[in-house]
């Protein structure tokens, strides 16, 4: 199958996903739990070779997007097209396994503590018929790419530091030459001096192998460094999406603006932060039919309560806010 360079490598079409939280599961039924919408009709395209950053706070649904992309969970509705074929529970093993890899936030649990580095990194090769020498060779190359040498091969995973574990996890993710690598807050639990090293490595190997990245973060500065394109999400909805240079330097959606102002930055003062609290923030129902940011919004209008704003197309980006309805 030849992939046109302009075709997205993966496409999410109208994906919805909800979880039931808080209730008690009993006899297979969930009782009394609230339905919490993680994603509501989200559509996204991931292009070959780009870094798409999903920027959002906790509960925004960004990790759910990662689970949809990797196929760790299936959507309630909507479809996922990977290299022009639809992913289903039946075919995802044959189509996507090994081809979409993920690096997680929690370095401590992202590697099996009873394995050696070699066992961890080579696990994605378990199906290949490579000889052991060939496997060692591949593992060594992957390790080299993340800045580790062969002395690590036989080391036990639990002896390593957080930064080293995260590098091992990256080596493991790239060894099967995947089409997409999803990073779910992959650097946010690292010290900032180590984070800088890891971010540089990611950019380097992407340039070297033309990897496609989906990079999930809550950190505005990290997003700015990594992104080609950025997508800002809030309670399961995309609020703003577009090239990172323009979206992050000049955000349009009131939430994006708040996010920018609230992000800590050396030598800056907090400006424009309402000490007002989001006491009565939205907690969950899908069919509210109004803008979810309404409670916290400075520019709220009567209209925002009547229907949920769709994504309006601006010149280079899309924004889900009625302020930009006619622009």
């Amino acid at each position: 199958m030849v992939l046109n360079t302009n075709d997205p490598i993966l496409r999410l079409n109208n994906i919805s996903k909800s979880y039931t939280g808080g209730g008690r599961r009993f006899l297979g039924f969930t009782q009394g739990g609230k339905k919490i919408v993680a994603l509501e009709k989200v559509s996204l395209e991931i292009m070959k070779g780009e870094t798409l950053v999903l920027l959002g706070e906790s509960g925004s649904g960004k990790t759910t997007v990662a689970k949809m992309i990797t196929g760790l969970e299936l959507p309630d509705s909507g479809e996922i097209i990977f290299k022009q074929s639809k992913l289903t529970s039946r075919n995802r093993n044959s189509l996507a396994r090994g081809k979409i890899q993920m690096v997680f936030q929690d370095a401590a649990s992202s590697l099996d503590p009873y394995y050696t580095v070699f066992q961890c990194v080579s696990e994605p090769l378990f199906k290949s018929k490579d000889t052991i020498e060939k496997k060692v060779d591949k593992v060594l190359r992957a390790l080299e790419n993340v800045g580790l040498d062969e002395s690590y091969l036989e080391r036990n995973v639990k002896e390593l530091s957080g930064g080293q574990k995260q590098r091992i996890a990256i080596a493991r993710a790239i060894i099967s030459d995947p089409d997409i690598i999803v990073f779910d807050e992959a650097t946010s639990s690292l010290d900032v001096s180590i984070q800088a090293q890891v971010l540089n490595i990611l950019v380097d190997i992407q340039e070297k192998y033309n990897f496609t990245y989906v990079f999930i973060t809550h950190d505005f500065n990290v997003a700015k460094f990594m992104a080609d394109r950025v997508c800002i999400i809030y309670y399961g909805r995309i609020l703003e999406i577009g090239p990172s240079e323009i979206v992050l330097s000049d955000p349009k959606h009131p939430y994006s603006i708040l996010l920018k102002n609230a992000s800590p930055m050396i030598g800056k003062e907090y400006e424009d932060i309402d000490v007002m609290s989001p006491d009565e923030v939205y907690v969950g129902d899908s069919k509210l039919g109004y803008c979810l940011f309404y409670n916290r919004c400075r520019n709220r209008m009567e209209k925002c309560l009547q229907s949920e704003p769709p994504l309006f197309k601006l010149k280079n980006r899309e924004v889900a806010c009625f302020l930009y309805e006619n622009k």
Partner: protein, 341 residues
């Protein structure tokens, strides 16, 4: 708030009922399917051919299995456990006489165990790795590792043979007449008939079994309280309480103990099971005629109906206690009360 807790209780109740049904089926499988020759063991070892035939008919043992199950369930739910071939009485009648005697012992022992257990557990946790902690740990390790019969022998020797303070066994002085059976609760019968001599003798005779039962079981509570206290004391909110300027004793005995009690509640049904097992053996040593006596007698005399009836009633009690502790649990912990967990 109330609807949350009502829903919670309802779910737990349904789960308990399912477990009861399971218990019925489990005993059925045991008695009707696993038993090599059901009629023979139901009738007892000394039964004649005609008795076995009668038993076969009575328990529908020659019928298809689903019919057997049907009658079995009907019987169990009407507490009809059949006739005891050894005692020559209906099993339900026997249980009604013997079980309450043991339940009284167990209830008292449980109450004391919980008090001692919580106190000693908290005491040890506060003095972690110091002398007091060591003493408590050695004490519960020893009592918990000692077979109940040995514990019973020890107390029997100490208080009865050596010191001579307490009688070495029996339910009450054998020369006294047991008051007539009006209620299943023996001391209540004694009170009704104003038989104070019997009542005091009964109380004196019950002390040693209660002490022995407490000794074997408080360790469960101590252990869980201690470890749960140690966990709780590490949590941030304890430090917040200290930093607020709350008196240390209040932090420990109010905040820490209360939070540590949640896991303690969950082991109460375990404690009950443990006490039931203990009572089998302890009653044997003290010749105390309670449920333990009934079960061991049934065992020694090949009295199958009594055995099955007894374990079914015991299982019912455990399930009931489980249910009650679940509900208590919900009242202690607001997170469950509000359906968050």
């Amino acid at each position: 708030m109330s609807s949350g807790i009502a829903r919670y209780i309802a779910t737990r109740a349904v789960a308990s009922i399912i477990t009861v049904l399971g218990a019925v089926i489990l005993t059925f499988v045991l008695t009707h399917l696993l038993a090599p020759n059901p009629a023979h063991i139901w009738a007892g070892p000394h039964a004649s051919a005609s008795e076995i035939a009668a038993i076969t008919k009575e328990y529908h043992l020659n019928q298809p299995i689903q019919i057997q199950l049907y009658y079995y369930i009907i019987d169990l739910f009407t507490f009809n456990f059949g006739m005891s071939p050894f005692f020559k009485q209906p099993v339900s009648q026997l249980i009604l006489v013997y079980y309450p005697r043991t339940l009284i012992l167990i209830a008292i022992a449980m109450f004391i165990s919980i008090i001692i257990g919580i106190y000693s557990g908290a005491f040890a946790a506060v003095r972690q790795d110091k002398f007091g902690d060591g003493i408590v740990r050695v004490a519960y390790l020893l009592t918990w590792s000692t077979p109940p019969f040995l514990v019973a022998l020890f107390f029997q020797y100490l208080f009865s043979y050596y010191a001579g303070w307490l009688p070495s066994g029996q339910l009450a002085d054998p020369s006294l007449k047991v008051p007539p059976f009006v209620t299943p609760i023996l001391p209540l019968n004694a009170i009704i008939f104003g038989d104070w001599g019997f009542l005091s003798s009964y109380i004196v005779h019950s002390i040693l079994p209660v002490i022995a039962l407490t000794a074997i079981s408080f360790g469960i509570i101590t252990r869980i309280t201690r470890s749960s206290m140690l966990e709780t004391m590490k949590l941030d909110f304890i430090r917040t309480q200290i930093m607020k300027g709350t008196k240390m004793s209040k932090v420990v005995y109010s905040n820490a103990v209360k939070n540590s009690l949640i896991p303690v509640v969950t082991v109460i049904s375990l404690l009950f099971s443990f006490l039931i097992v203990g009572s089998l053996v302890i009653e044997e040593v003290f010749s105390y005629t309670g449920m333990g006596y009934l079960v061991t007698q049934a065992l020694y005399n090949y009295d199958y109906p009594t055995l099955i009836g007894s374990i079914f009633v015991i299982a019912l009690s455990v399930i009931l206690i489980n249910f009650v502790t679940d509900v208590v649990y919900a009242f202690i912990d607001p997170r469950i009360r509000m359906g968050e967990r």
